[in-house]
């Protein structure tokens, strides 16, 4: 694993992506859930308001109907005017009314003069023609004035709710019927009203006393204090007409309530339902929404995490890959299949890595080639991408050998540092010249150096070039020899050249590669070099013939050479004539002028 930079910004990008994705998913979810809950709550409230209101009105109507029914029954009793004496028919009618109208506990009939004519009761004794004066009775006065009169609620024995209902006939002569009505019978109406599971109705009279309640014991308690919460509830409803109001019932439970009036008795019917129950469904829905929101949020977090990971993962891979490639691992490939720009980017990185690998391989190859080829030749071969030129073949080459005279003696006496520095300067000088003439340096061996001209890259007039190169070598090395001799080292420098066919090619392993030539010509050049004296450049006949017209040569005496059966004809360059050139060359070695000269010597030839 390649280590990442110390200021790894991955986490922050991940956080940014994560937060953005999370917000994008959760935001609409919260808005939708919240608004649904709010509107659901409002709708439920409106529905409840309507329901309670209609139930209250229905109950009010039923109670009004109940009271109206009693008043209608009483009206039958005051349709005929009173005669003077006892009226048996009326007594029977009274008894029948008691029988018929259960809530009426007693009935009193008063004539036009306000005298009691008949009284029938379920508990007390019936009376006929008692003649008691009732003209001042509020029931008689009220009924005479308004036709029908409903008295205040009275709690008999401090417990049982009763009310007096009086009805007058259409003429004063028919008198007034006064009934004592047991209001416990309203219980049947009120207890039949149910809203939901526990919603119920109750009735308050004008002063706020409880007249009817499904729990009759609350009414029988006739306790103003315990009815106080119900009175407050009524005030709350009156304060906001047409809307269900919130409040508390006698048990302290939070309730929603609506009210409908019973105008004829100034009572109020109030229908209430516990808030917990009324909003039970919406609460359940809210819970569901809440749980869904939580689940959704969790899911959104997971999704955001996953997506961020997916976006960050490739970036991470890219970064890692780039780091590896940067570290030189050019065979590393970034494998991304995201199908997007990141994949494209990864592709580019991979291509770049491939190109880098090619480039590196090339530079390595060039490095290898440069070990035996002149840099520019190596460059050319490399650029052409064709190394077949290095393959083994048989070509006409000029083999050039050179070495130092007296080196063995010198190396035996001199300090190793001196030897190495002398060799270093010597190689350096010779190599420069070889490179300059685009010859091929095939081997170093102690003080001996071998170079090839016309292989692996062919050049025009290789003999001429080889000779020019030999002279340049002599020039350079002789320059060095002056200093060395001054230091007391008796060294000299000789060069041998031979031209002819030889087998050339790359030899060696992957790690160590050399270019060499094998053949008669190589041996010949080597022998010529060996027999050359200081300052001498010896040529074989083939070279001499090739350059004969342009270079002054001295034909030396044919001499025996090791490995050659016959005497070998040897030619030397007329050093006298070329002394000046050699001196000049040694003086400006490495100079541009010399390069230009070399180029002129080579005739501007190009490879192939």
């Amino acid at each position: 694993m390649v280590t990442r930079g110390p200021t790894a910004p991955r986490a922050s990008l991940f956080t940014k992506y994560f937060l953005a994705l999370f917000a994008a998913a959760v935001g609409p979810l919260l808005v939708a859930g919240g608004s649904e809950a709010w509107f659901g709550y409002r709708d439920q409230r409106d529905r409840l308001s309507d329901l309670l209101d209609s139930e209250a009105r229905l109950a009010a109507f039923k109670i009004q109907y109940f009271l109206q029914g009693i008043s209608d029954q009483l009206e039958w009793m005051v349709q005929l005017p009173w005669s003077a004496g006892a009226d048996e028919r009326r007594r029977l009618d009274g008894l029948r009314l008691l029988r018929q109208v259960q809530p009426v506990m007693s009935l009193r009939l008063v004539d036009g003069a306000g005298r009691e004519r008949l009284s029938v009761s379920r508990i007390g004794l019936n009376r006929v023609e008692s003649g008691d004066d009732y003209s001042d009775d509020p029931a008689v006065i009220g009924a005479t004035a308004h036709g029908a009169w409903f008295g205040p609620v009275i709690f008999q024995g401090g417990s049982e709710p009763f009310m007096t209902v009086a009805v007058a006939g259409n003429r004063s002569a028919t008198g007034v019927a006064i009934a004592e009505v047991n209001l416990k019978f309203i219980w049947e109406i009120i207890s039949a009203i149910h809203v939901g599971r526990t919603g119920e109705a109750f009735v308050l009279d004008a002063p706020g006393r409880l007249v009817a309640h499904p729990d009759i014991s609350l009414v029988l308690r006739a306790d103003d204090a315990s009815a106080r919460p119900l009175q407050l509830l009524r005030s709350a409803i009156v304060a906001r007409p047409g809307q269900a109001a919130a409040g508390r019932d006698t048990g302290g439970t939070a309730v929603m309530a609506a009210m409908a009036p019973i105008p004829m008795v100034e009572w109020s019917v109030i229908v209430k339902q516990p808030v917990a129950e009324a909003f039970g469904p919406i609460h359940a829905a809210l819970w569901r929404t809440g749980i869904l929101l939580v689940a959704g949020t969790f899911f959104a977090a997971l999704l955001a995490y996953w997506l961020s990971q997916r976006m960050i993962g490739p970036i991470h891979q890219l970064e890692d890959g780039v780091a590896r490639i940067g570290a030189g691992q050019f065979d590393h490939r970034i494998r991304l299949a995201t199908g997007d720009e990141l994949e494209r980017l990864a592709g580019r990185f991979n291509r770049m890595a491939g190109e880098l690998a090619v480039s590196q391989e090339r530079s390595e190859r060039i490095g290898r080639l440069r070990r035996f080829l002149a840099p520019q030749v190596a460059e050319l071969i490399e650029r052409s991408g064709d190394e077949r030129v290095l393959d083994g073949r048989r070509v006409e080459v000029v083999a050039v050998f050179c070495d130092l005279r007296g080196f063995t003696a010198f190396s035996a006496q001199a300090q190793p540092e001196t030897i190495i520095s002398v060799l270093g300067a010597y190689y350096d000088a010779v190599e420069r010249v070889i490179a300059m003439y685009e010859a091929t340096l095939t081997s170093f061996s102690g003080d001996g150096i071998m170079a090839l001209v016309n292989a692996p890259v062919a050049c025009p007039d290789p003999a001429q070039r080889a000779v020019s190169m030999a002279r340049a070598m002599q020039g350079c090395v002789q320059g060095l020899l002056v200093d060395w001799r001054a230091a007391g080292h008796e060294l000299g420098f000789g060069v041998g050249l031979a031209m002819g066919p030889a087998t050339v090619g790359r030899i060696g392993s992957e790690g160590r590669l050399d270019y060499t030539a094998v053949g008669h010509v190589v041996n010949l050049a080597s022998r010529l070099c060996a027999s050359a004296k200081d300052r001498e450049i010896l040529l074989d006949r083939t070279v001499a013939r090739a350059v004969g017209g342009t270079v002054d040569l001295i034909e030396l005496e044919a001499r025996p050479l090791k490995g050659f059966t016959r005497h070998v004809p040897v030619f030397a360059i007329d050093t006298q004539r070329h002394e000046v050139l050699g001196d000049r060359a040694s003086a400006v070695i490495g100079d541009r002028e010399l390069q230009a000269g070399a180029a002129a010597d080579s005739g501007g030839g190009t490879i192939r």
Partner: protein, 351 residues
Amino acid sequence: MPVAGRNEPLSQPLAIRRAATDLRRRDLLASMVAMCAMPMGLRSARAQPSALPVIGYLGSESPERYASRLGAFAEGLAETGYVEGRDLSMLFRWADGHYRQLPALAKELAAAGVTVLVAPGGAEVALAAKAATSTIPIVFELGGDPVALGLVNSLARPGGNMTGVTSLSVEVSRKRLEFMRELFPQAKLFAVAANPTSPTVKSQLTNLDAAAATLGVELRVLNANHSDAFEELFTATRDMGAGGLVFTSDPYFAYRSRRLAELAAQHGVATITQSRDFPLAGGLMSYGGDFLQSHRHTGIYAGRILKGEKPADLPVQRVTKVELFINLKAAQALGLSVPPALLSSADMVIE
């Protein structure tokens, strides 16, 4: 009138109680055997009935005489969600007509640690329960004024450990006389049957005297506190030439309506009592509260107290329904024609 002695064998209620005890023992034994046979896991679940609330039920008579009332009581309990055996267990004590045993039986129930003590069937039962405990909630059922009897502080706020249901039976004694007079407009003398041991007898007789004065008739009070004396009530009425016999409200009479109906028919005496059982058994008339309703309300109150409500906060309920029953067959047998005023007032006419 001679007060009847203890002619009924004393051992009878004891025998019944012993039988009941035996039955409970047998149940206990059976359940113990069942528990031993059960795997451990089920035992705790089955052991729960022992934790059920217990209603102590004090009856002045026998279960047979109380049958319809017990039914109404169970109905009331069920209205509050309680069913015997499932949600509660009942512990009964029956005086079997021996009202003097009521205080001892009430103490037995109180000592048994019942959750609620139900004392239905009259002032005697309620008073016995009151004497037995001042802490265990008591639900009574009686005719009459519980405030005057000293059972509660007020109808709206009973205050103590008692509440219950009253019917109008006691208040309407005078109406019975009125109905009898309606039947016999010419009669000047009526007999009144009273139980001298009843806590409400005094107020009823005062009430009746005042009514007699208003109606302009004379009353003769005949006492009976035992069924053996019943026959004499009728013979005396017949012998004195009274228009009819008016029974005061008293549970002892009410629970023996069948016997009274037999005697009334046997002696040809026009009679009116408190209980509808009387005309249903062949008697002439009845006027009184609806005991089924009052016993049902007793059951409701017992249930509400089991649910945790305090008797002190539960107002005494008055059953306002008063019903007139007339048996026309009995009237025919007596050679009477029932006037339309009575017929039109009747809630039930048995033909």
